[in-house]
Amino acid sequence: MRLSRFTRGGLALFATFVVFFLIAPLLVIVLFAFDASNVQTFPIHHWTTSWFSVAWHDPAVRGALWLSLKAGVLATAIALVLGMLVAFGIHRFRFFGRDTVSLLLVLPIALPGIVTGLALQSAFNLAGIPFSLYTIVIGHATFCIVVVFNNVIARLRRTSMSLLEASADLGASPVQTFRLVTMPMLSTAIIAGALLAFALSFDEVIVTTFTAGAQNTLPLWIFGAIRLGQQLPEVNAVVVGVLVLTLAPIAYAARISSGESVGKSAGSGT
């Protein structure tokens, strides 16, 4: 497809605008982390770095961060196991209701989060299950499974099954085949899926509103802080801290997703 220089330039300019649109609010978050006043207006009159130390020493922030990390790791772990299983199953086997299963998997992200949240809350209440870390994890894992599933099944569809058969023909046990052939083929897809699943869990607020107990996850703490209106810059400071910590995994995720096409052509070449 040959594009005129004008069209290419126009598209590049447009892309720049879109990136600015995506990033500008993040810059605003960073900016207001240094606002001395807890009632925020622009331009900022008094600057301070003290909110970072307030956030660092705030036991509520630490507790919320820790709970979010635990919930994210557990939900991602469950999602990895179940998401990979269902991806293998759907990819490998033909059976009645196969399409129903793939629809079912999509439901937790296709149906509004408030529906999932309310449904889980009703069920937990009815079953007499008290809200805790585990009810949060159950809610998160349910919509994280599909994220892992999507990434893994997309990779499986692109790879050839004959490799697995060759491995079995050469005498490898299913475990060996899985460890030595399947996993290396899928590793970047699994990592990308896990990262996205963790990110979704870490930032989830709507389902969590309905399934969390007395302990706050980080988003719930942020919502509490926003409604209180006393520590708004502290919220910004916390978010900036989280962003800085996630720069490395994001760079990695971007590299593996941008490398897909390269890897694909290299794979077909060898």
Partner: protein, 397 residues
Amino acid sequence: MNNPRFRRWTGFSVMALILSLGAVPATFAGSAGASSSTPPTQGMAPQQSVGKGEGTLNLIAWEGYAQPQWVAPFTKSTGCKVNVKYAGSSSEMVSLMANGGGHQYDLVSASGDADLRLIYGGNVKPINVNLVPSWKQFRPFLQAPSFNTINGRHYGISYEFGPNVLLYSTKTFATAPTSWSVLYNKAYKGKITVPNNPIQIADAALYLSKVKPQLKITDPYELTQTQFKAAVSLLKTQHPLIKKYWDLASQEISLFQNGSVVAGAAWPYQTNTLQAAGAKVADTIPSEGATGWADTWLLATNAPHPNCAYKWMQYVSTPKVQAEEALYFGETPANTQACAIMNTLQKGGCAAYHANAPASYFSTIKFWKTPLAACGNGKSNCVDFTQWQQAWTQIAG
């Protein structure tokens, strides 16, 4: 039909149907919603002593009720780590407690309108006031008020009370407005904010009780169908004037700081926060009077950390914490000894927040209570809370 896609979909619905038939109805059998004239937990014997703290305390509280200034010293001295869930309305507190939260939370700082629902819902249980020494220093009418004490059983200890105020920009209003009518005045179209809360209907009713005496409104929470309709239609005419129905205290703060609104219904908390940030605002209680709240820390029936809960009740009823809270939020403490401390913390603080006012001051505020069909007139012709809720959706929707 032979369309394979169609078959896949039917497969799905059949699956859902089987599940719904098989799994669910059994679980519903046998339970029934019940409410009687005696609270379900009335017979539960309160504990006789306060043991060692459990290390954690889970609270449901109003914004501003668990500030680090007094939470940190509490944690330090008792070892009870405090988790707070903020709720923006009494109803939200009831929901949090009723929907499984009863096993999570220890105490809830509910207002009078939620207390009876929590007590008769069995979500809270009797406490032993003898374990809370400062309780004896409380104003007599707050030691056993009808909203938290039934048949001589205390379900919690009173905390603070105060009025909902008219918050206004001093740039727009050189002198304090004397009537709630500014909130219904077309001159301030798009410059007004009120809470997104059905209980706001009572504010309209209170205003109508003065400006339309022919409606014969005596209690803004006990409204006949005619009176209720008048209040609702007043609020519907108010809708076009509203910039935003605020859900969070911080929203009203931001709206005033940005100059986006000039008048609104508020808690004194917003006024204090705004004035501390240098905003040109003030608040007032107009001549029609005000609705208000009287809060109680109620003990959850299944409180997982009862000892920390008692320690909290002991701590927040002491004059010092009562004074700090009163000044911070802008309300009146239950403890009479708080007055002197308020004056040392802020000059004239005691009088400013009526901590030394006689009991008659209390009766000038129309405290939030749950609207019931069976209202004070002996007949059952009042509009109940479910209808308030639905009417509010119509108003704000």
